[in-house]
Structures are given as structure tokens and as C-alpha cells.
């Protein structure tokens, strides 16, 4: 899986492309561990090209959730494919994380 980043003044956008399995979860974890992340007001995750997410991938997001919340950084997912959203929903993460359909809504959050 490829992870590309776009930055603007107060927003970091991570674009995920491919399958988030155990090995790419490690890469994502490293990315999210960077201390600069806490300087942003929002971290947006573009899931348009995310075709699959494993429990390892879910675990990475879960583990960073608290940290981001404590630093007042909003984590918002958008453009999620249906079956990926399904996974989040079954686990109950839709009530815990911000998941919105479009980028505009993500920016507005």
C-alpha cells in the first residue's frame, strides 16, 4: 500500500492506496508516530483507493486515536468504500471516529 501526504496550513491529508494489511500497517504506524502530526488541527484520511483493511490496520488507527484526541487533533476519514466502511461499522468504530462521505464534509468538520 502507498501512503502519500498533502499538507496545508493546519491540515494533514493521508492518501491511502491499496490494501492495508499487516506489513503496510507498520508503515502507517511509523507515519502516524511522527511528532509533527500533533501540530495539525486536522488529520484527514482519504480512503477512496483503500480496497481492504485488516485488523492490523484498524489497530493502528485505534491506537493513535486517543493520542490525537488528547492533542485536540481531529481524525476524519472520507471517501470510504462500502465494504471498508462495513468493517468499521461492525466493529463499532463509526460511533467513535469521524467517517464522512466526501472531502468537503471532511474539510468542514
Amino acid at each position: 500500500m502507498k501512503v502519500t501526504t498533502h499538507t496545508s496550513t493546519d491540515t494533514l491529508t493521508l492518501v491511502l492506496d491499496g490494501e492495508l494489511d499487516a506489513s503496510s500497517a507498520v508503515v502507517l504506524d511509523a507515519e502516524l508516530n511522527k511528532p509533527e502530526i500533533l501540530n495539525y488541527r486536522k488529520v484527514l484520511v482519504d480512503c477512496q483507493r483503500l480496497s481492504y483493511i485488516s485488523s492490523a490496520g484498524l489497530g493502528v488507527f485505534i491506537s493513535h486515536l486517543q493520542r490525537l484526541q488528547d492533542s485536540d487533533v481531529k481524525l476524519v476519514f472520507f471517501n470510504m468504500q462500502e465494504k471498508v466502511f462495513n468493517v468499521f461499522e461492525i466493529l463499532g468504530l463509526d460511533s467513535l471516529m469521524h467517517i464522512v462521505p466526501t472531502e468537503q464534509e471532511a474539510q468542514a468538520a
Binding site: S55, I62, S63, K83, L91, G92, L96
Partner: protein
């Protein structure tokens, strides 16, 4: 008489008898000599000649025999010690001789108030005795040296020599009118024998450099003392005062000859040995270096250590003036320690000159060995800060791996001859062997560890599968569980509780391996622990914790030990026959599939509930809740894990909830066992040929059509 004799005699060593006899002979000799000179009051004149000869011979024989039976003067390989002791004695005896001669001179010149003739005779006799003692010492010291590593044959030869020498002595005694030609013949024969024996100087090879010089000097000294005595005796022969007959010349001369010849031979051999010895020393050092490396390299614990050992040994052994060792990391190497390039006396400015030699040429897989014994001519390292004479580039490689390259430099040309190279090749071969062994050991260890983990996890999994399913007259249960190749974290369990209750637990730990297996065990433990009846409950429904509380307590228990990015999905059902219903809670797990017999429809319970281990404090309470449902006879509950609905076919499609639902629609009327079989069969058909990459668990609970009365 004999008995009392032995009692009365003090205990004297046998060898001491020789000394006593010698002393007696010497006295006899002295008196005989004196008698032949000026008349001395109280002494009969002109004792017979044969008495003189017998006394001399007897003295010599006794001294020699006494020295012969002494313990070997050579201790171990302390040749220098032996020579030094001999030198000291010789020195002492020579000094004594000079003192005596001095006294004699003074007496003769009437400076001392001593009768000149008598003094001369006495001095002469003492000097003779001293010389004989010295000769005996030297001869038997030489015996030790000759027979060093000589073997039995040499010992026999020495015996023959001794016997012949003894015979020569006896002959003079018994047949003192021997024909000169016979005497000469015997003399030459013995002399030649002595020359032959002087060839046995094996002990010289065991001396190191400084010892060789000491040996030369000591031997010169001993030679000197011998000559001094001979010189004196020869002069004494011509002394008119001393009217003694010729002493046992042949015996003494032969002994002196051998003593001197051996010393000279030894001296010369040692001297000529020196330059050759240096070469042998060098070779010996190389071989020792190789032995040392072989020993220590086997104890090398890490790759950097092994490289360092090779580096040091190679430099020391061939006395290189500069060296570089560039190691190469192996793929998959476990040790994270960086392998640094080792440098010795190599200027950083010269590195670019040798870099092309240390890396393989483009297109070639590995570095090639290069030996240049004349750098001046080949101009290979033209421009280096130090003009080197020869260079060796040695790759460290096995048939499958490249471990690095060793570069050695020497200021002299032709430093890397075939012998040096053969030693270096052995060094590098040893190093590669050790590195490979190290790698294999590490690989095998990690393999072993992985295997052990998998085995333990599989064992745990196996143990935790409920062996006996609860049975009762109001329900049927059927189970199917298939673990994926890599041990996963599915778990399920049943508890048949008093009061006709059935508790069901199913779940899935994220992650794999031993840690996941541990958490499945933990969940089951929590299940059993919490399903204890509360004796103080007033109401029936308070007797056991409700599903919500179960999840909250499970979440609490997990907070302390669940890994950072792990979570657990679970679903818990408490079915109450008497109440005709069940309560359940879903914590992030797959939705329950249910056939409603009254409505005749198959659908999923879509309830809210967050997985365990996601919110690790009391706030979790709000994210999971208990649901209630009444059941009817004929209802079917299908509980499963995501390995079922996420099973993939060859095109990457997932099995999905819809297909499962349709399958149940087609077979709900059958028994739990049959339903289970249909469902899993369909899943297996769907994913035929695909490897199993997640655990699959499928539980079917059917409420019997005819519910017996309570």
C-alpha cells in the same frame, strides 16, 4: 661376621664407594709421584711404575663411573642451564688450576717457604685430578645432549663408545707395552666414533635466538677451559722436576678430543643454524598464528568479532604494513550491529586508490583475488602516500555468499609468496566457515523460536476447544472450527448453567501467534469466572451477570494486558429456557444470523456495540448494550466469525453476509448438525482452492420444535 659388618658400617650410597675408591687411588697416585722424585723422608723411593699407572687408571675410572651414575644433569629442555652449570664448574676448576700453578711458581722461585719439587708434584697431581673430574662432567653432559631425542639406537652406540673408552684405559693398565700401531689404530677408531657422535646435536634446534648465542659463548668457554688444562699438562710433562711416566695419555687425550670436538661441532652448527633458524622461526610463527586463529575464531560470538580476529591475525602473521578489511552484510542478518570497515596503518587519502579493488567490477558478482608482488613495476598503487612493494586482495567468500574483502599491503616486493598465500587462504577459509556457522546458528535459533511459538499456540488452541457440547432437551448445538495455518485468535465456549440456562461466547482476537492464543485463553477464563451464580441475587435474572456487564468487565480485565494496537471482538448470549428468551451483547463482532420460525424469515440482528480493547476506560460502558429477544420453537441462531463471511474465492470476492443468509433460508428446517454442514460446505465450495487465511468458526443453535414442558 658379615651381618655385624653391615650393621656396623654406616649407610653409604653405592655411588659414594666410587668416591672413596677415587680418593684412595688419588692418594696412591700422589705418593707414587712423590716417590719418583726427590727422596722424601719417610717415603720409600721409586714405587713401581705399574702402581702409578694403576693409581691413575683407577682414579680416572672411579671418577668417570661416579659421574656416570649421577642423575641426568639435563632437566627437561634446559640446555642452557646444563651448559651454564658446566661452564661454572669449568671456571671454578680453571681458577683453582691457576691458583695452584701460581703457588707452584712461587714455591719454585723460593718466594714461598715450600719445598719446590714436592709442591710441583702435588700441584701436578691435584691438577690432573681436577682435569679428570672436569672431563667426566663434560663427557656426561655431552651424553645428555647427544642422546636427546636420540632413541634406543643412540643409547646403545654411546654404551659402545663408553666401553671402548674404558677398554682403552684398561689396555694402558694391563698391557703397557702395546704396539704403537695398535694403539694408533684404536685411537683413530675411537676418535672417528667421537666424530660420529658429535653429529648428534638435535638439541640445537630447540633453542630460540638468544639461547643460541648463549650456547655459543658457553661452549667456547668450556672449550677454553679444556684447552687450558691440556696446555698445562703438556707443559708439565716436560718439567724436569716431574719425573713421572707418561700419563694415561691415550685415555685422556681421547676423552679431551671428544669433549672438545663435540663442543666445536655444536658451536659451528649453532652458528650456521642461525640464519636458517630465522626462516624457520618465521614459518613456525605463521603456523602458530594459524592455530591460534583456528582456536579463537571458533569462539567468536558475533560477526564483527570474527572479522576483527581475522584482521589482527593476518596482519601479525605476515607482518603486513597496512591492511583494510571491508565486511559485507548478509541479507536477513539478525544482528543489527553495523559492520565497520577495519583499517590498519592505511591513510584515508589512499582509500580511493583501493576502492575499485574491494568491490566487484560491474557485471561481475564478486570480488576477484588479486596478488601483485611487484607494485613498483605494475604501478597499481601509483600515487599512494607510502610506496608499497606488494599487495594481496583476498575475497572472503563461500560458494553462495560474499562476506567481504581483505586487502594486505607490504613495503617489500615479493612479500606474498606461495607459502604466505597458503597460510592466508587457510585464514580466510576459516573465517568464512566461522561466519557461515554463526549465520546458520542464528537462523536455526530463530526458526526454532518461531516453530516453538506456533506449536505452543496450536496447543493452547487445541486445549481451549470445548470438548463436550452441552445437551438438553430444548436445544441442539453444532459446532465447526477450523484454525488457519498461522494460529489465529478465534474462540468460543458454552456453559450449561443451572436453572436451564445456556451461556454462549464467541469471539476473535486480532493478531496471530502466541499472544493471540494467550488472549483467547484469557477471554475464556473471564467467561468462566463471571458465569458464577450470585448467591445473594433476589431475582432470577440477577443471578448471572447480564451481557452488558459481562462485556464491561471483560474490557476492564483486558485493558491491563492487551497490546497497544490489538482489540477483541466478542458476542455473548445468555439463553433462558424458563423465560423463553435470551439476552445478548455484541462487542464489535459479526452480526448474529437468525431464523424466526413465526415470521418465517431469516435476518441479522443489527445491534450496536464497540469491540473490546478500543476504549480502555470506564467510558466503554456507554458503547455496548444488552439486547433481549424471545425465541420460539424451531428458531435457529447462527453465530460465526469473520473468517466465514470474509472467505474469498479465486477472484477476490468475499462470501458475504447475504450468501450466508440465503443458505440458512434453504435449510433452517433441518437439524443443527445438518444446517452446520450445509453452511460450511457452501463456504468451502465458494473458496475452493484458496488458502485459509483466517480462522473460521461456525456455531448453530436450534431451539427444538417441540419444547418440553418445564
Amino acid at each position: 661376621m658379615g651381618f655385624t659388618f653391615t650393621l656396623l658400617m654406616p649407610k653409604i650410597r653405592p655411588s659414594a664407594w666410587f668416591l672413596i675408591a677415587a680418593g684412595f687411588c688419588w692418594l696412591l697416585l700422589l705418593l707414587s709421584t712423590l716417590s719418583r722424585g726427590q727422596p722424601i723422608p719417610g717415603l720409600a723411593a721409586n714405587w713401581p711404575r705399574w702402581l702409578l699407572l694403576v693409581a691413575q687408571g683407577g682414579f680416572a675410572a672411579c671418577v668417570f663411573l661416579y659421574t656416570r651414575v649421577q642423575p641426568d644433569a639435563l632437566i627437561g629442555q634446559n640446555f642452557i642451564g646444563l651448559l651454564r652449570a658446566l661452564f661454572r664448574r669449568g671456571l671454578a676448576l680453571s681458577v683453582a688450576l691457576l691458583v695452584l700453578v701460581g703457588i707452584d711458581q712461587l714455591a719454585t722461585a723460593h718466594t714461598l717457604p715450600l719445598p719446590g719439587n714436592i709442591t710441583t708434584a702435588v700441584v701436578y697431581t691435584i691438577a690432573l685430578a681436577l682435569f679428570i673430574v672436569f672431563l667426566a662432567q663434560v663427557l656426561y653432559a655431552w651424553r645428555s645432549l647427544v642422546s636427546f631425542r636420540g632413541g634406543a639406537k643412540l643409547r646403545r652406540e654411546w654404551m659402545v663408545f663408553e666401553l671402548t673408552l674404558g677398554l682403552a684405559l684398561m689396555m694402558q693398565l694391563l698391557v703397557w707395552q702395546m704396539s704403537p700401531s695398535l694403539r694408533l689404530g684404536v685411537g683413530i677408531g675411537l676418535a672417528l666414533f667421537g666424530v660420529y657422535l658429535s653429529g648428534h646435536q638435535r638439541w640445537v634446534a630447540y633453542l630460540n635466538n638468544s639461547q643460541k648465542w648463549q650456547a655459543i659463548l658457553l661452549q667456547l668457554g668450556i672449550l677454553g677451559f679444556t684447552l687450558l688444562f691440556l696446555f698445562y699438562l703438556r707443559n708439565a710433562q716436560n718439567d724436569p722436576v716431574l719425573l713421572a711416566p707418561a700419563t694415561q695419555l691415550s685415555f685422556l687425550v681421547l676423552s679431551s678430543f671428544f669433549a672438545s670436538f663435540y663442543a666445536i661441532a655444536g658451536l659451528l652448527i649453532t652458528l650456521f643454524n642461525l640464519p636458517i633458524a630465522e626462516v624457520f622461526e618465521q614459518r613456525r610463527a605463521e603456523i602458530l598464528g594459524l592455530q591460534h586463529l583456528s582456536q579463537i575464531i571458533q569462539r567468536g560470538q558475533s560477526a564483527p568479532e570474527i572479522y576483527q580476529m581475522l584482521f589482527n591475525s593476518a596482519i601479525q602473521t605476515i607482518k603486513a604494513h597496512a591492511a583494510i578489511l571491508m565486511p559485507e552484510r548478509q541479507p536477513g542478518e539478525l544482528t543489527k550491529s553495523s559492520l565497520t570497515t577495519l583499517r590498519y596503518q592505511f591513510s584515508a587519502d589512499d582509500i580511493p586508490l583501493v576502492e575499485p579493488l574491494l568491490t566487484p567490477l560491474p557485471g561481475t558478482p564478486r570480488v576477484v583475488e588479486l596478488i601483485d608482488n611487484n607494485l613498483e613495476r605494475s604501478k597499481r598503487l601509483a600515487g599512494s602516500s607510502i610506496p608499497y612493494g606488494s599487495m594481496a586482495v583476498l575475497p572472503l567468500q563461500s560458494t553462495s555468499h560474499n562476506y567481504g574483502t581483505l586487502l594486505l599491503l607490504h613495503k617489500e616486493p615479493h612479500a606474498f609468496d606461495s607459502e604466505v598465500l597458503s597460510i592466508l587462504h587457510t585464514f580466510t577459509a576459516q573465517t568464512v566457515l566461522s561466519l557461515e556457522n554463526l549465520q546458520l546458528a542464528q537462523e536455526s535459533l530463530s526458526n526454532q523460536r518461531t516453530q516453538d511459538e506456533l506449536r505452543i499456540a496450536a496447543l493452547v488452541q487445541e486445549r481451549l476447544i470445548p470438548k463436550r457440547l452441552p445437551t438438553d432437551d430444548w436445544f441442539e448445538i453444532s459446532t465447526y472450527a477450523q484454525a488457519a495455518k498461522e494460529v489465529g485468535g478465534d474462540f468460543y465456549d458454552f456453559l450449561h448453567l443451572p436453572g436451564q440456562k445456556l451461556a454462549v461466547l464467541i469471539g476473535d482476537v486480532s493478531g496471530k501467534g502466541v499472544t493471540a492464543a494467550f488472549h483467547t485463553a484469557q477471554m475464556k477464563g473471564i467467561f468462566h469466572a463471571l458465569m458464577q451464580a450470585n448467591p445473594l441475587a433476589k431475582k432470577e435474572r440477577d443471578r448471572y451477570p447480564d451481557p452488558h456487564r459481562f462485556m464491561v468487565q471483560a474490557n476492564e480485565a483486558l485493558t491491563h494486558c492487551l497490546e497497544r494496537s490489538s482489540f477483541i471482538t466478542a458476542a455473548f448470549y445468555l439463553i433462558d429456557y424458563q423465560a423463553g428468551g435470551f439476552s445478548f451483547a455484541r462487542a464489535g463482532h459479526c452480526h448474529t444470523l437468525y431464523y424466526h420460525s413465526i415470521k418465517e424469515e431469516v435476518s441479522y440482528f443489527r445491534t450496536e456495540g464497540l469491540g473490546l480493547g478500543i476504549i480502555r476506560d470506564v467510558a466503554y460502558e456507554k458503547h455496548v448494550k444488552t439486547q433481549f429477544w424471545d425465541y420460539n420453537p424451531g428458531d435457529v441462531m447462527v453465530i460465526y466469525t469473520d473468517g466465514i463471511v470474509e472467505a474469498r474465492d479465486g477472484e477476490g470476492n468475499e462470501y458475504g453476509e447475504e450468501r450466508l443468509r440465503q443458505m440458512l433460508e434453504a435449510c433452517f428446517y433441518q437439524s443443527a448438525e445438518e444446517i452446520n454442514e450445509h453452511l460450511r460446505h457452501d463456504v468451502q465450495e465458494f473458496s475452493r482452492g484458496q488458502p485459509l487465511h483466517d480462522d473460521q468458526t461456525l456455531l448453530v443453535i436450534k431451539f427444538k420444535a417441540a419444547q418440553p414442558h418445564t
